[in-house]
Assembly symmetry: C2
Homo-oligomer: 279 residues x 2
């Protein structure tokens, strides 16, 4: 992909009423591509640093205005770099203005409610930037791959997700959804590196290797879920993520575009404060 | 204060059963002092950067071990730098490993419960570092200054706080409480600067000037609250905070000491992962 690549080339076509969404194949996207790279790892790092400063400034305006909300959803296979993206891209953002919600296996209390219950509680308030590290999408991926969810029930769940996300959008939430796309080879290398480095063992468990055994099923479950839930107000983007520095730059670029679309300004000066001398 | 200053010189003596705690006067602490400064703003920034890298590493171990919890409570008058401390000191800490809970005026739902209810919900889980930006201490300061809380009722509330914090400590939470101590002159300058810069008006309201009118009452309310709730497992420290760079270095030094006391190690390698080749 040459310099002319556009971010929207990596957007999943919007769902338009097709039962299973437009047919999308993740194999059409090259996980090793670096279409938005600045040319080298070092150049990417410098570009990311520029973006990060802008993101910090945008987030301050978001906070000052306390009107809009921004939600970034990160999904991807194990080792695809969800944690790494958060660390790298949001390094400069004021910790006060950022909230991260990580979703793991549901607790008994969470499992006793519908699948959107625990997610709804974590959505951003006015003025907040929230990142979902995994999300409600796990609930249309894992049970589908495990053969526990299919057909009309799966379609209903996709519809619930679309409705839920449109509720958020209607109340002023800008939503960006990023699928961090790595190749099976890249995952092998990353998993092997974790196994070979004993100080990283705490990061995972032998059972984490099981999802890899279902790689193809996960890829098609993802493809269908993305197709069925990419909408104008909650679009999905595929992020080529074998290159970490490219992944970071691309996610930052997409998020910056979302922020720019909000046209955030600082609230006007307060008349009641003008000319006051503090004594 | 010369180089020989020790962090514990700034610790409020532990409560030992005195009804109103040991007599403490904040006037005994010079808000303009820089006992832990490295010599200049620039040198302080460099020292903070070193500390920040260590804090990041400690936090990762905390997260890996998922056993201990760390709670930092920040209190101080308006403009004392609670937000600024969070921004500066935790810049390097992985956003994934940090949670900040800011307490503002209680919502109706919060006000319908006891004063520790909303705070308890926000305490750190195993492996978490949580910062309270204001806290349950507001509930022994504001109503006291407003004349709504005194005598036996105030003493009871201090006791509830001590018991609550000992519950947290018993379940493995290391607690550090920092009072950011600024002078009345420094506050005047900071408030005036905010008024003169119209882009900063969103940060406050004319009513924020009211607490300043009760400066002396707040200082004595703080002094009593610190004395009544500084305990071995939840000590209060007074941070001279007219100098922002000194304030940051001192808070970081205290927190590092807390982390070092936990003797955090990475969990051992997992036998079940040794020798595996990912295919």
């Amino acid at each position: 992909m040459a310099k002319s690549a556009r971010l929207d080339d990596f957007r999943i076509p919007f769902f338009d009423g097709d039962k299973a969404g437009k047919r999308v194949s993740l194999a059409d996207f090259d996980a090793g591509a670096k279409p938005f790279s600045a040319g080298s790892k070092q150049a990417d790092r410098e570009r990311l640093a520029e973006y990060a400063v802008k993101l910090d400034e945008m987030q301050e305006r978001l906070h000052a205005q306390r009107r809009e909300r921004v939600l970034l959803i990160l999904q991807g296979m194990d080792t695809s770099g969800k944690d790494g993206t958060i660390r790298a891209v949001f390094h400069e953002v004021d910790p006060l203005g950022l909230r991260i919600a990580s979703f793991r296996a549901p607790t008994p209390d969470e499992a006793a409610h519908d699948f959107l219950w625990r997610v709804h509680r974590q959505t951003p308030a006015a003025g907040e930037l929230t990142i979902f590290n995994r999300s409600h999408y796990e609930d249309v991926l894992v049970p589908r791959v495990m053969g526990e969810l299919h057909g009309a029930e799966l379609e209903r769940r996709y519809a619930h997700i679309r409705h839920f996300e449109s509720l958020l959008a209607d109340s002023g939430t800008a939503i960006l959804k990023c699928f961090l796309h790595i190749s099976k080879d890249e995952q092998r290398e990353r998993l092997q590196a974790r196994i070979d480095d004993e100080t990283k063992h705490w990061k995972f468990d032998r059972s984490d290797l099981e999802a890899r055994e279902h790689w193809d099923k996960y890829q098609s479950a993802y493809a269908q879920a993305l197709a069925a839930t990419s909408t104008e107000r909650a679009p999905w983007y595929v992020i080529p993520a074998d290159s970490k520095s490219h992944r970071n730059v691309m996610v930052a670029a997409l998020l910056l575009r979302v922020f720019e679309g909000l046209k955030l300004e600082y609230p006007p000066a307060k008349e009641s404060l003008k000319g006051i001398t503090v004594t």
